[in-house]
Amino acid sequence: MNVVTNNKWIGQRTIRPDGMDKVTGRAQFAADTTMPGMIWGKILRSPHPHARIKSIDTSKAEKLPGVKAVVTSKDIVDFPIEKGAVMLGIQDMRWMCRNVMARDKALFPGHPIAAVAATTEAIAAEACNLIEVDYDVLPWAIEIDDALKPDAAILHEFNKFDGKPSNIVGRLEHKKGDIAEGFKQADIVIERTFTTRPVHQGYIEPHACLISVAADGKTTIWSSSQGQFMVRAMTSMLTGIRQSDIRAIPAEIGGGFGGKTIVYLEPVATLLAKKSGRPVKMVMTREEVMRATGPTSGSKSTVKIGATKDGKIVAAHGTFYLQAGAFPGSPIRGAAGCSFAPYDIPNLLSEGFDVCSNRSKVAAYRAPGAPIGAYAVECVMDEVAEALKMDPLDFRLKNAAKQGTKAAHGPVFPRIGYIETVEAAKASPHYAAPLGDGNGKLRGRGVASGFWFNAGGESSAQVNITEDGNVVVTTGHPDIGGSRAGIANICAELLGIDYRRVSVIIGDTQTVGFSNLTGGSRVLFASSMVVTQSTEKIIQTLRERAAKIWEIDPEAVKWENGAAHPVSPNAGQFEPLTLEQLAEKAPAMGGPIGAGVQLNTQGADGGFGTHVCDVEVDVDLGIARVIRYTAVQDVGRAIHPGYVEGQLQGGVAQGIGWALNEEYIYTKEGKVDNPGFLDYRMPVCSDLPMIDCIMVEIPNPKHPQGVKGVGEVPLVPVMAAVANAIYNALGKRFYALPMSPPKVLEKLDEPLREAAE
């Protein structure tokens, strides 16, 4: 495949197709749907972090006037633990069935125990209170250290680690060379331990769905998710309704960031709808979102890096313990696999440990695990560079991975753009600018890099030419990062028409072919492949039809600027035939023009970023603020630069929140103490500077437009960049997140350095 150059639409900041609906409030999110006869579902949740469920008596709830159906775990299809894993994507259905409704044990406060559907939300809530649950309350553990104690409460008794019942439910390692030998060669070795708190993705739209099960069993789901096919498959597996009978219609999504790659409500609402014969709507409150849906892991990481005097890293060792929450499956792959990937390190051991504890099951969050690993590694990189008296970017350049580097997680890197990101950061106006006077506040600058795998996978598309010669493209993944705008640019480019003539929609599960969920920064990479191939098929049809009209060979027809032309005067002298003209003639020439392609796409290249961050610290109040930020990233090819920059800026904003204020706080009773946006402090606009973006474009040669995923890399370096900047300002290092005001002030009680360097 050749990379398209000299583009008219690719690389343009075209008007986003969903923009008008979203700014006018017309966009339909999951909670905006309604149906005649609709009733409301509510979930009864465990008040305990850990408890055996001895019995559930729903009889009083069922008798309450207005109650139409009650569901417990008995109604959910069981996937017995002893029968082994049943995987759907990265999710094991044994854990999913227990996560949507507790079976024998409640494993976190907020764990669903039963659900009720009633004519009003208030009646459903009252009915939940009438359900009698007999719990045998058990000891519990939330923090990693507590979960790993020899006498810790064990969540899953069947699980053994080193032959003993354990909360360590998984381990992986990436290995290269021999670290013992490697560290012997080192002149400088620095080892540090870091902790991070669980943080939520913070999507503004709570989980919501409306589900109708008709008398004949045909089921329709309207919900907000990152994959309507994932919703269909999980609902099918957990309810026993076959996939051909479930139509999952994706609503506009009000944020996901990975958190909507699993289901919570849909199987429950489906069963309530099936039992009651009424459409059932469920909308989580913010509190439910914060208590019971997946944040990402809290972590404890130890990173050791050894380098020679001339700045060459000779060995590194990372151990990353990540909280999985109630069920196995923390993102240790991202932590262990991504964190050292920017560097060519001959001797490396990177280990991940998956630790269960009594909090909600983690869900994916933007480059799952990678920001946690990078935080530890990039902070130690900063210390090693300082010990070597090297500029931290030069130190990274000296050790940068490049084409041919064997990554510890497996691949030999193809042409990658990591070095270019470091060079661009070094050459940026930001890196050259003086820090300036903080007017009594201390300023500092930090840098950090990051990597994310990116992904390909299954995608389907159907491209149809309308009767009036315009274009409708249907793809199968919810648009959470600009895929519709990107696809419109690409399709318009290929057809040589104005992008406004291309309408891109997201199909439901019964109208477009299987498409894997929106995650892994895969969507534009994968969907533009199938759209490109579909469009190429259409262009072939258009050329054939023009050739037939002109009575020449199809090979003698070229497609350019939205019309068929003879390739040269030798092929014949004909007026061009436009898309509109050929569409008009379609009925007489073999019928409608359209093509669909379905592929398991391959060839996704990983992405690298390097960030520069300036902070200013009010040393009397302990408040650190980011005052300037530049995100550099190898974006492959920026199909829609406005959206790419939006991805970079969004990731940085989330990382700044993670670094400075966001954290789950627990009460002594093991419950989340800050289940709302007042005390779970995500940044607001005024907390952030304008975030500068430098897009480095090293096209992916295995993709027709050179696309690389861009959505997840931007979160990876941020916490380390902020931490390194705070060190530079204060001369004191922080080894724990968040660096919130009380924690900063506590540290500052030690003597201060005069000013930033």
Binding site: T285, E287, L621, L660, N674, D679, S686, E746
Partner: protein, 289 residues
């Protein structure tokens, strides 16, 4: 299911009648920015809501003949911000009220609601305490006046008697050389709740403080009037030693808790830091008056 009755009387007497009759099931609705949130989260389930915004006195801003102000309990932050002179005379009170919630919330939120919500972290309260504001309350037994600092009884509780409604705030006339300021510590830059709030009101003559009041929020079960801090400032030129004494007095007055918003150590230290910064702003403003 419990029913909810909503009343919006035109007169104070009607409101008091309805409010007193409904007893503990009733709640007063001014802007509703606390009440509605508490209802939605299930914390409160009132049987009767008495909306006071239709009562003219409740939404009036009046400049009194002596140069003071009378602010209706339901006056929104935005209405006060748009008043021609209030912000010039009481910039610290206005900036405190305008910190409640967000821009959107400001269209509804009132100082009266902020006070009656009983939160020790309410932003307007330390500023009102520093300003020496007096509130008028009216109930079945008639009208009475209270000092603002006497209204809160503890988190979520006030010293208003059953059936009493907060009617207005009275702020005294200002001698020349007076001004005031309010600062709060929040982890974010806006849309947040005070970890510590500090209001300072000063009168200065030839660079010397002749009168001072200090209010501190979020460091004790109720907002505090810190008289020792005021004493440390009065008679001084706001020199470092005086400010340090006043800051120490603020820290000493703190009886905070460790909670999700801050630690005891943090709040105690920050109370002193904010006193210094707030006094500096108030002094700068005062010297221009």
């Amino acid at each position: 299911m419990t029913e909810l009755r909503y009343l919006a009387p035109d007169t104070l007497d009607e409101a008091i009648g309805a409010f007193a009759a409904a007893g503990s099931a009733a709640r007063i609705l001014a802007g509703g920015t606390d009440l509605l949130v508490q209802m939605r989260s299930g914390v409160l389930k009132p049987g009767v809501i008495v909306d006071i915004k239709k009562i003219p006195e409740m939404t009036a801003i009046e400049e009194t003949a002596d140069g003071g102000f009378r602010i209706g309990a339901a006056v929104s932050g935005m209405a006060l911000a748009e008043h021609k002179t209030f912000g010039k005379v009481w910039p610290g009170v206005l900036e405190a009220i305008n910190l409640i919630g967000s821009k959107q919330v400001q269209g509804r939120a009132s100082a009266g609601g902020n006070l009656c919500n009983g939160s020790p972290a309410g932003d307007s309260v330390p500023a009102m305490v520093a300003a020496g504001a007096v509130v008028t309350v009216q109930g079945p037994n008639g009208r009475r006046e209270m000092k603002v600092e006497d209204v809160p009884a503890g988190p979520g509780r006030t010293n208003l008697k059953p059936g009493e409604i907060l009617v207005s705030f009275s702020l005294p006339p200002r001698p020349p050389g007076s001004s005031n300021a309010y600062l709060r510590m929040i982890p974010r830059t806006e849309m947040d709740i005070a970890v510590v709030g500090c209001g300072v009101s000063l009168t200065m003559n030839d660079g010397i403080v002749t009168a001072a009041r200090v209010g501190l929020g979020a460091v004790a079960p109720t907002v505090l009037l810190v008289e020792d801090a005021a004493k440390a400032l009065i008679g001084s030129k706001l020199d470092d030693a005086a400010l340090a004494r006043a800051a120490s007095a603020c820290s000493a007055a703190c009886r905070p808790i460790d909670d999700k918003r801050g630690t005891i150590a943090y709040r105690t230290k920050v109370a002193g830091v904010l006193l210094k910064r707030t006094a500096a702003i108030a002094a700068k403003r005062a010297q221009g008056n």
